[in-house]
Amino acid sequence: MTRRRRRSVLILVCGAVLAAALGLVLTAMRDTIVFFRSPTEVAGQKVAPGTRFRLGGLVEAGSLKREADGKVAFAVTDTGSTVQVRYRGLLPDLFREGQGVVTEGVLEPDGVFRADTVLAKHDETYMPREVADALKAQGRWQEGTGKPGQGSSGQGSSGQAQSEPVSRTAVQ
């Protein structure tokens, strides 16, 4: 094989693999990404029933109910609007009423959000960034305290942001 032909084979193969990778990324982007919505956005009919999305906000105080078979029901609020959530499974250790939460699932036609994932956080004063932003949009967030301005049950720990262990980085 001549040098030129070898080079063109190499370029062709590289091009084909990169094009395949690009194609995969573009296809996957269309079907698999999940949007984040706040309860206010859900109430504003921004979400079609049946689409998967992430719902984030505060767990409304007094809303947590445990049912038979490990099912739980609770309400997620951004203090403007509230969405009822049903979930089957064990809740993360840091799940508490009055605390921030991010859940992922599908909105049923009856307006109840059926979550299959409730995201755990590793730190009791940590507020998911999306939730913090959603609360800011409602004017319910005090910058720098790491806590919502109201509705938070006392967590005992001081308000300043904890230093954050990397450690768990790579689960890697």
Partner: protein, 665 residues
């Protein structure tokens, strides 16, 4: 006092590393070899200073010196000793200090490796390494001082985040950092080569052991982190395609490509310009990973509260090093002499495929990780890119790569024979197919992906074994064994590492058969997962050194016979007002039964999640085997002996190795 001296030692290390950075530049202007040789003692002294600072912080943690803010925020006098020590890097300041400690450690080791690296290359490499050290020391001293004092000192600390009070914290971050930071050496070598404008097979031979060592550490570090998350988070998952996980996977993918491309460069003097770029990109991805994790710009299941001002500083470091090195590359790479091209069907051709697929896979992971950030900063729309995206993009790129692996090992350098290679691999392929069909038959009606994945894993393991068999086969068994023992260690290392990939693939594929069940049960109640039944014998309180625990006592039965006991619990740490689940694990061979507990009801009932995870341990065992293979390769003669190409006499005495098998990798 020791704390202040530790702080001072850090400042001293900064001054030393600045000296170490400037000297090679000055030396290249004046041509004075003495100036150049200063880099060696400077690298050793920098390491000594940082080690002293790290020791001082460790001392403060061990003795619970609550006048130090870092100790107050992350320690407690009742905490067990191992967590007092591992707590040193269980926080931002301490972990950054560990980062530079390892950076300086690698610098010191390069400084001491007198024989294997040419002096000018070593001086320039140490100079680049010092630049990285200096910038990160500055970062620590300016934004994240671990030595700041509190006055008045509180009587008790706030304790370490309970999730981190686990032996995993003692092992995972140091291993991961040895990997991440180890790639800084490859990076420094690449920059030094660009500055010098010279790159050859000797460069590849000098850089390969460092890359391989870093890769081994990163492999084990990632596996360790995965296992830790598996048993600690209580979800039974081992990989979530979470941004923080991706942050470590990307350098691993690029590093794997680099390990392979340096082989081509060493053996065939080709792929030079690409290898230099890959070395730059690998460390850039490590830096990107550090930025993503430390700055808190990502939402991850593994993130903790973070401070955005530090993110800006790290972003600056990122721009400086990635931008600077790529600019240097664009400027200098055209001056490097290009290596030769080669036949597509050859060992080096297969290694190019390896690099191509690994880079493409790495790029898709990068896109999936950064796309949400880019979209949010451009449009304000918040999205999450999760497992479906990565399964759809990563797997189609990983599978063809894995199919090529056994061929790559079998093909000869320069010009390979595809038909002969297929013939040699035929037995492996046939056996793997038989295993696949058997697995389909046994698990008829189950998921189809699992048997196919198991077949793929078997094919990889058999391919690796066949490679050794083909190369060692002689007329008699005794001769074959002697030949096998005489094969270069790198050949064994390659086979072992590739077999490790196969083991991991089998473990991953088998997870399609894992079973999960969830119920709230009373004492005496039962829960079934696959062939196993868990019986709740009781719920007991227990007290640990700094926590109280509620433990569910479960007997695991298989077909009525008890096979073991597991005790998942929920620990409550009063110092942080925080509770943490402790999963219960029962290991049966390489499979596991896994249980975690939820809330305990007032009537004595308890929520239990039970998993049966067949062959799950293979996922991490495979990674350990990969790293062992890399380690074995590291002990190969050509790395131990300075420059074997110049000493053919040494090679001739290497024992009963048939001459044709020596040059092969």
């Amino acid at each position: 006092m020791l704390i202040e001296v530790g702080h001072y030692a850090l400042a001293l290390a900064l001054a030393l590393s600045l000296t170490q950075m400037v000297m090679p530049v000055w030396a290249s202007r004046t041509g004075d070899p003495v100036l150049r040789s200063i880099t060696v003692p400077a690298a050793l002294a920098t390491f000594a200073c940082i080690a002293f600072a790290f020791g001082a912080l460790t001392y403060a943690h061990v003795t619970s010196d609550f006048s130090v803010q870092n100790v107050v925020e992350n320690s407690h006098s009742m905490k067990p000793l191992i967590y007092k020590i591992s707590g040193v890097w269980g926080n931002h300041e301490g972990s950054m200090l560990l980062w530079v400690l390892i950076l300086a450690l690698f610098g010191a080791v390069v400084a001491l490796a007198r024989n294997s690296v040419p002096p000018i290359l070593r001086a320039n490499t140490l100079g680049v390494q010092a630049a990285i050290t200096a910038v990160f020391l500055l970062f620590i001293l300016v934004t994240s001082n671990p030595f700041s004092r509190l006055n008045p000192a509180p009587v008790e600390g706030r304790d370490l985040n309970p999730l981190l009070q686990d032996p995993g914290l003692a092992i995972h971050p140091p291993l991961l950092y040895l990997g991440y930071v180890g790639f800084s050496i490859s990076f420094a070598f690449a920059i030094a080569a660009l500055i010098e404008g010279r790159i050859d097979a000797a460069w590849a031979r000098a850089v390969r052991p460092w890359t391989l060592a870093a890769w081994c550490f990163l492999t084990v570090g990632i596996a360790m982190g995965s296992y830790w998350a598996y048993y600690e988070l209580g979800w039974g998952g081992w990989w979530f395609w979470d941004p923080v996980e991706n942050a470590s996977l990307m350098p691993w993918l690029a590093g794997t490509a680099l390990v392979h491309s340096t082989v081509v460069m060493e053996k065939r003097d080709a792929l030079k310009v690409w290898t230099v770029l890959l070395a730059i990109l690998t460390f850039s991805l490590s830096l990107l990973g550090t930025f993503l994790v430390r700055s808190g710009v990502l939402t991850s299941v593994h993130t903790f509260a973070t401070d955005p001002t530090r993110g800006t500083f790290i972003l600056g470091i990122l721009v400086l090093f990635i931008g600077g090195s790529l600019a240097l590359y664009a400027w200098r790479a055209p001056t490097l002499r290009q290596g030769g091209l080669f036949a597509p069907i050859s060992r080096e051709g297969a290694l190019v495929m390896n690099n191509l697929f690994l880079s493409a896979a790495c790029a898709t992971v990068l896109v999936g990780t950064l796309y949400p950030l880019a979209l949010e900063s451009l449009t304000g729309e918040k999205i999450s890119v999760g497992p479906p995206f990565f399964n759809l993009t990563f797997l189609p790129l990983a599978v063809p790569l894995l199919l090529v692996v056994p061929f790559g090992q079998t093909l000869a350098w320069k010009r390979g024979d595809l038909a002969a290679a297929s013939q040699r691999l035929f037995i492996g392929f046939a056996l793997a197919l038989a295993i696949t069909l058997l697995a389909i038959a046994v698990t008829w009606g189950g998921p189809v992906g699992a048997p196919l994945g198991i077949g793929l894993g078997a094919y990889l393991i058999l391919g690796a074994a066949l490679e050794i068999v083909t190369r060692a086969r002689g007329k008699t068994v005794g001769l074959s064994l002697r030949r096998a023992a005489g094969l270069p260690r790198s050949a064994w290392g390659t086979a072992l590492a590739h077999a490790g990939v196969g083991i991991t693939v089998i473990g991953i594929a088998a997870q399609a058969w894992s079973v999960e069940s969830l119920a709230t049960i009373q004492r005496g109640g039962e829960l079934r997962a696959g062939p196993y039944v868990a019986v709740l014998e009781g719920v007991l309180p227990r007290t640990g050194p700094n926590y109280t625990e509620t433990v569910a006592h479960l007997t695991i039965r298989e077909g009525g016979d008890p096979v073991g006991v597991i005790e998942p619990g929920k620990r409550f740490y009063a110092s942080r007002n925080m509770s943490v689940s402790e999963a219960g694990l029962l290991t049966l061979g390489v499979s596991q039964v896994y249980a975690s507990v939820g809330e305990t009801g007032t009537d004595g009932s308890v929520g239990i999640r039970l998993y049966y995870k067949p062959l799950v341990l293979l996922i991490w065992l495979g990674a350990v085997v990969m790293a062992l293979g890399g380690g074995l390769s590291l002990t190969d003669r050509r790395f131990r002996v300075g420059a074997p190409a110049l000493r053919p006499a040494v090679r001739d005495t290497a024992g009963p190795v048939p001459p044709h098998s020596v040059p092969a990798e």
